[in-house]
Subunit: 311 residues, 2 copies
């Protein structure tokens, strides 16, 4: 069994080969006023999940959550929730009576890719989740890099632009303020200011504009929308070049809504990456889509985390 908390909480029962046997979800906000009410609801839903599937008793619970900490099995000051530090072991383990393992959502997703994806023999890769923000899970020698204190892998908070766009983390210029679903909306409004091209996006209020609408406009040939994807890809590749010089991964795997843009995003990213690395690394690291794109990587990632903990 595996669980996952974010904007939405999704959970599922996954077998040893990565099949999702049963799953469910609820809106995190409904019960997130404090950790106690949240975990009460989650425990209730997990108990129901177990009751519905008596032939598949869970052997471990994996949790992929914002600011999830692997070493302490905790969720620590998750953004926008005001929770402080929560001991997940205590909140879930006591009720579920099986081992509980926690890490952040992107690390779990990287493990999902490793165990159930198509990375094959790949032992060194970076998984990037492009959602509201930009998350990353780093795999070196077949193991997730957790760092000294359990919070490694924050590529979304590398500085792209000194003194640039304000970020949810309190700093300025973080990569995720440019490369993410919310980042590309900001980029479109910059382009609407700097360029004179006609664009259907000029009709949309900033608060109503979505990455999905930009994607649709780009597919319909809108020049501003296309330029926004091209800039976004270039910024991503430029900054990933730093990660490549440090880690020399075999591939960088993109997952998430924004990654649906496919070549519109991947081509400029690959080009910028190869332009920003020294010869040793050029034309080696491939930027590619996740083989789990469209699947429930949240549940599969948390399941992979649980599976590794008990083997």
């Amino acid at each position: 069994v595996s669980t996952f908390g974010g904007t939405n909480t999704v959970f599922g029962l996954v077998d040893a080969t990565g099949n999702i046997i049963d799953e469910g979800h609820f809106a995190t906000r409904e019960v997130s006023a404090n950790p106690l009410t949240y975990f009460e609801r989650l425990n209730l839903d997990l108990t129901r999940l177990r009751q519905r599937n008596p032939d598949h008793p869970p052997v471990a619970v994996g949790v992929g959550a914002p600011n999830g900490n692997y070493y302490r099995s905790s969720i620590e000051n998750p953004p926008n929730l005001g929770w402080g530090i929560v001991d997940v072991n205590e909140q879930l383990g006591r009720h579920q009576q099986v081992p509980v393992v926690t890490t952040n959502d992107a690390n779990a997703a990287a493990l999902g890719e490793l165990l159930y994806g198509a990375v094959g023999e790949m032992k060194n890769f970076i998984l990037i989740t492009l959602g509201t923000g930009l998350g990353s899970g780093i795999v070196v020698n077949g193991e997730v890099v957790y760092g000294a204190y359990g919070f490694a892998g924050e590529i979304g908070h590398l500085t792209l632009v000194e003194g640039g766009r304000i970020c949810g983390c309190g700093r300025r210029g973080c990569l995720e303020t440019y490369v993410s679903a919310t980042g590309i909306v900001r980029t479109v409004y910059e382009l609407l200011a700097s360029e004179r091209s006609a664009s259907e996006l000029r009709e949309v209020a900033p608060s109503a504009l979505t990455a999905r609408a930009i994607f649709d406009a780009a597919n319909a040939g809108d020049a501003i929308a296309r330029l926004a994807f091209s800039r976004t890809g270039t910024w991503l590749g430029q900054k990933l070049a730093d990660a490549v010089a440090i880690l020399e991964p075999e591939a960088i795997i993109l997952f998430g809504g924004l990654a649906n843009a496919g070549d519109m995003l991947l081509n400029p990213a690959q080009k910028a990456l190869d332009e920003h690395v020294m010869g040793t690394f050029r034309n080696k690291t491939k930027i590619q889509l996740s083989s789990l794109q469209g699947k429930n990587i949240a549940v599969l990632g948390a399941a992979a985390l649980a599976a590794r903990a008990i083997t």
Copy 2:
């Protein structure tokens, strides 16, 4: 026994506890016209070293060399030597009749720090060598990160300034063109152009200026020299922030001539690092001097590489 090739080739016989029993060196240039003449000389010197120390027969040879590749035990296109790809195993192993292990010089130094240094329980750190260039060895979970193809850990070639100073690697703006012994010389000449402060460094021809002279001038209170160290430290910390967000190391350990500047370099670097990371990482990763500073880290690093290969 362990060897090391760079501008100078140094080699030594090291026991299991990290004592250098005997050592030697020669100028790489004298015999580097081609790999064959180079390794002929090295084999000869190693044979003499063994003959001088019959009570300490070597059990393995470790080699730390520019562009040394761990997976293939090769040296591949080392900068400034025009060698192409050299099979170190073939060149050394055949003559020395013991296992031969190769990696780049900074990776070897990181292993030296891990085995013979004062890192203690530290399992996640980055070693930075500040010499003519900027080399780095990355340790995650007590293991050096070699990457997918054996060339990971090139922090010196992260881009500090888009379109900045030309680098030996052919690109522009690499960190090592700013933060290294040669980088600080370039910085001084920029400062002599942009500032009006009196400076004894105005009397020195660019080709004659050294990092050592800048260090001495800074210690004597020269404003330009002090500003050069402060800028250098700031740039280092700013770019190390990216490495910290990716790897979350416990410490970043500086080694090499430029690191002798101590607090003049470390203080601005630590300040800039903490200013350029998100709250999760602030005031955690310490920038510190290597405990092996002043010792033969080249020989100790290569020895550590050899020691790990046979245990």
